[in-house]
């Protein structure tokens, strides 16, 4: 009986993992497709689509744009989220629950609505669409997440250490930057990397709020709209490999270390 459950468990997990991995395996496989049609059947293997991607100026620019928007918008979202979390956890503010609700509200709204609202307002103000407007949208999306993650990790046990630092003559900003922030670094980093992940792959806001300089998902979208192109599979695979490498580095360098010492 026990063995049967174990076998069934393994079988079930195996099937689900197969399902989860299927499109990515196929994607990577067809990124090596020889010939100009990235569709079955597989004709042969070649690396030329990877070369084509790496020498494609527009794709590479879009990749740079994505990185820029993801890193800067996430950093800003984390900073604003941290400050707000600090205020709500350490001080008593009037209508605290309502204001906290406001801060997390964008999380429960579809990104399409956030993007559409920003676009309508930007149209009226006459502000030109650019990577900056995309970044503004991404901060709106990620701020609730950063706030919630950091706020949830602000427990009472840190208060004593902060008080001790204050007793030793540290100023408020010093306490915050040198005591609170380092103590909360695991959750701040977690919030940051989650934000980067969302921003990096976010499509609809980036699509609605950009003009000439676009992020990678938007560039890929317009590639896919305009004709069969094997480069799309290659760029998808590249993004995958780079992300996995990044994830492994993070896993080894940041989370494992912080996990051990806490």
């Amino acid at each position: 009986m026990r063995r049967l459950t174990a076998a069934l468990s393994a079988l079930y997990a195996g099937l689900i993992y197969l399902f989860i991995f299927l499109p990515v395996v196929v994607l990577v496989l067809f990124s090596f497709q020889d010939g100009t049609l990235p569709v079955p059947p597989l004709n042969g293997l070649t690396l030329r689509w990877y070369e084509a991607v790496l020498s494609d100026g527009k794709l590479m620019a879009a990749l740079g744009n994505s990185l820029l928007v993801a890193v800067l918008s996430s950093a800003l979202a984390c900073l604003l989220g941290f400050l707000a979390a600090y205020a709500f956890a350490r001080y008593r503010l009037p209508a605290s629950a309502l204001l906290r609700g406001l801060l997390v509200a964008p999380m429960t709204v579809s990104t399409l609505i956030i993007g559409l609202g920003l676009l309508s307002v930007l149209n009226v103000t006459g502000l030109r669409l650019s990577l900056v407007t995309v970044g503004i949208g991404h901060v709106v999306i990620n701020l609730p997440l950063c706030f919630a993650v950091i706020y949830a990790s602000m427990g009472g046990h840190q208060v004593n250490i902060e008080r001790a630092a204050r007793d030793l003559g540290a100023k408020d900003w010093q306490v915050m930057a040198l005591v609170t922030a380092p103590m909360l670094m695991p959750s701040i980093l977690a919030a940051f990397f989650l934000s980067v992940t969302f921003s990096w792959d976010e499509f609809i806001v980036a699509f609605l709020l950009s003009r000439f300089d676009v992020t990678l998902p938007v560039e890929i979208w317009s590639m896919l709209r305009s004709g069969l192109d094997p480069k799309t599979n290659a760029v998808g695979s590249l993004v995958f490999l780079v992300s996995v490498a990044f994830l492994l580095v993070m896993e080894l360098a940041v989370f494992r270390k912080s996990g051990r010492s806490s």
Binding site: T36, L37, V71, M185, P186, S226, L228
Partner: protein, 358 residues
């Protein structure tokens, strides 16, 4: 304190990444720029880069699908945002009415070299002034896999709603030519289409939806045709299959006996452009024989160049794919896109959306 150390290291890493990204982004922003609102075939670097190099400019391209989309982008912009517009030739009067296009000097454009059938003076000029010039044309008709269907069946547009190929048809997802083509299929001239014709067309569209497998954009249609998901694309044409025939020689297209739709793109300069000379130069490049040959074979879709002299710069193989020699018969048996004012346009879109939701 190990956490702080690793945190500091992280911060430095992030700073380096961010500044590297910033540098790479700002490196390319020194030159003069030209902003063009285009169909996707203009985004091919093979077409744009020679012009950028020769004039030391950066051409910013924003692609759109359908005049309605272009007009909505323009309405959301401020005067001076855009320099060059590529637009369906039949819609140029709309653009002229909106007062967004500037006049171009006729003597500096190779108007005499254009195929006479696609010069379209009646729409691209007004009161003797040239506002746009035709640059490329092709057909919304029937693309198919000739090994899987009977090519003789493709000579009749009614194949679009016949049960014979049920589940093997894709419809091209662009309401304007599809409404027009359906009209042609039931004997209505596109030039005379009014809202009164729509109920009849709608009925046919619903029938087409019933026998079709999917309604799809360019890539999804191409994918479906290339993988055998479908064998016929209604609304397709040379622009859909030309890029695929090298590897899928069994793909073909035809103009059925009732005729089909002819599209023609034109290019013009925005009235409020702050760089009108440069914009005109770009237009001149696009309609020059070299530019035309590149545009005809650009990566997004191939189609006939409007300038007859482009033939000198195209190989025989390219001309064969474009069916250079058969254009006279196609031109004779095809009609232009319907011209729709805002109300008719909205009504046609409603019909199309209703069809999608059937």
């Amino acid at each position: 304190m190990r956490k702080t150390v690793s945190a500091a290291r992280m911060r430095r890493l992030l700073l380096v990444t961010a500044s590297a990204a910033l540098l790479s982004a700002s490196a390319a922003s020194a030159q003069e720029t030209l902003n063009a609102l285009v169909w996707c075939d203009h985004t091919d670097p093979g077409l744009i880069e020679p012009f950028e190099k020769a004039n030391d400019v950066k051409v910013n391209l924003k692609e759109y699908e359908g005049t309605g989309a272009a007009i909505s982008i323009i309405e959301q912009s401020r005067p001076g945002d855009w320099d060059v517009l590529v637009i369906d030739a039949v819609d140029v009067p709309r653009a002229i009415d909106m007062d967004i296009l500037g006049e171009m000097p006729a003597d500096q454009l190779p108007l005499a070299d254009l195929f006479p059938e696609v010069r379209m003076d009646e729409t691209t000029t007004k009161d003797g002034k040239v506002y746009a010039v035709t640059e490329k044309f092709g057909y919304n008709t029937i693309s198919f896999d000739k090994t899987k269907v009977d090519p003789a069946d493709m000579e009749d547009l009614s194949v679009a709603w016949s049960e014979k190929y049920k589940g093997r048809i894709a419809l091209y997802d662009y309401y304007l030519p599809m409404v027009g083509l359906t009209g042609v299929g039931i004997g209505k001239k596109t030039a005379d289409l009014t809202e009164a014709d729509l109920p009849e067309i709608k009925e046919k569209l619903f029938e087409m939806k019933k026998v079709s497998r999917q309604v799809s954009d360019v890539v999804a249609s191409q994918t479906a045709l290339a993988t055998g998901e479908v064998d016929i694309v209604i609304g397709g044409g040379e622009w859909l299959t030309a890029g695929l025939v090298a590897e899928k020689p069994n793909l073909d297209w035809t103009v059925p006996k009732q005729g089909a739709l002819r599209w023609a793109q034109s290019i013009g300069v925005f009235k409020d452009s702050e760089k009108r000379d440069l914009a005109l130069k770009f237009v001149q490049y696009i309609v020059s024989p070299e530019g035309q040959a590149r545009l005809a074979t650009s990566s997004c879709y191939w189609a006939m160049p409007a300038n007859a002299k482009a033939g000198e710069h195209l190989s025989d193989a390219q001309k064969a794919v474009l069916r250079w020699d058969r254009q006279p018969e196609y031109l004779k048996n095809t009609q232009l896109y319907p011209v729709a004012d805002a109300d008719l346009d909205a009504a046609m879109q409603d019909v199309w959306t209703e069809m999608l939701q059937q």
